[in-house]
Symmetry: C2
Subunit: 183 residues, 2 copies
Amino acid sequence: MGYGRPVITEHELREAREYAAERLADTGIVLTDAERDAIEVADFGLSRLEECGLQLLVYVNTDRYCGKELVLRPRQTCPEHRHPPFDGTPGKEETFRCRAGLVFLYVDGEPTASRACMPPPGVYTAAHEVELRPGMQHTIAPGTLHWFQAGPEGAVVSEFSTASRDELDEFTDPAVTRETVLG
Amino acid sequence: MGYGRPVITEHELREAREYAAERLADTGIVLTDAERDAIEVADFGLSRLEECGLQLLVYVNTDRYCGKELVLRPRQTCPEHRHPPFDGTPGKEETFRCRAGLVFLYVDGEPTASRACMPPPGVYTAAHEVELRPGMQHTIAPGTLHWFQAGPEGAVVSEFSTASRDELDEFTDPAVTRETVLG
């Protein structure tokens, strides 16, 4: 079933990396060749990459702070998760800033009455919608459940945060795992 | 003499902000109107803004991490300084990533034999050169003396870091102060 392990093919990986590199270039973001080859593709162990997945480029991730770019295909969803406390810290605090396209972020809180997105199959509970267009940003406190979906043209999102430890992420849906395919 | 206090004029401030907003737009970086009005202009108390100065936009600065854009005019210099320990932390650790133009960073360490930049009048000691073209980045450990100068076409630099407390910066030149003009 592919649960619990990434089952992305080499072809899907290459295609997802090329897509992400092109969207970043369209946004005016210059990458080195080594960075283009290091774009991470997460399928969350679901084998439905176009629907549930994320392309990431980590610029820097020290034990104190992290900077990344996230790239989403049209309507692609990053499944619901939270960042738990670790190493005596409250856990990851992160700011998403939309650079291009459109992204809908769903966080714990008062459910938004009429929401722009339907989640894909899986377990989703957060229903407070934050719409981020280019130049808009939102900060997520540690421990807050959240998921996000790109609009019809995909999205490029810069993430500023404390140290990132993706392997600690706690997903609402037990079928989801955070194994990153590095190729 | 202007030492110890910023003596930028309203006209200089407006012009510097407009310059920075244009360079950010050229780089594909979308700002809100409120952000354009919040671009900080630092003259370091020297009243020689075109030569020694910095334009900054802070996206986020929590007590744990910070994200900013820095904009430099052609050959404009940010004077030599270090980020000291505070509040039980080792002090600010920061990563500069060049987005557009060219920036020469000078840090503590083995002096580079033939350097691309002359510092402006003032006190400068760090002479290890790191050239950053678009897509290149460099991380500066807390406490490291550093200064930087843009190339002939100016520069746009993204900064990822721990919490930023500019008012704590320690400048090598006692004539320099870090009062930011907010307009």
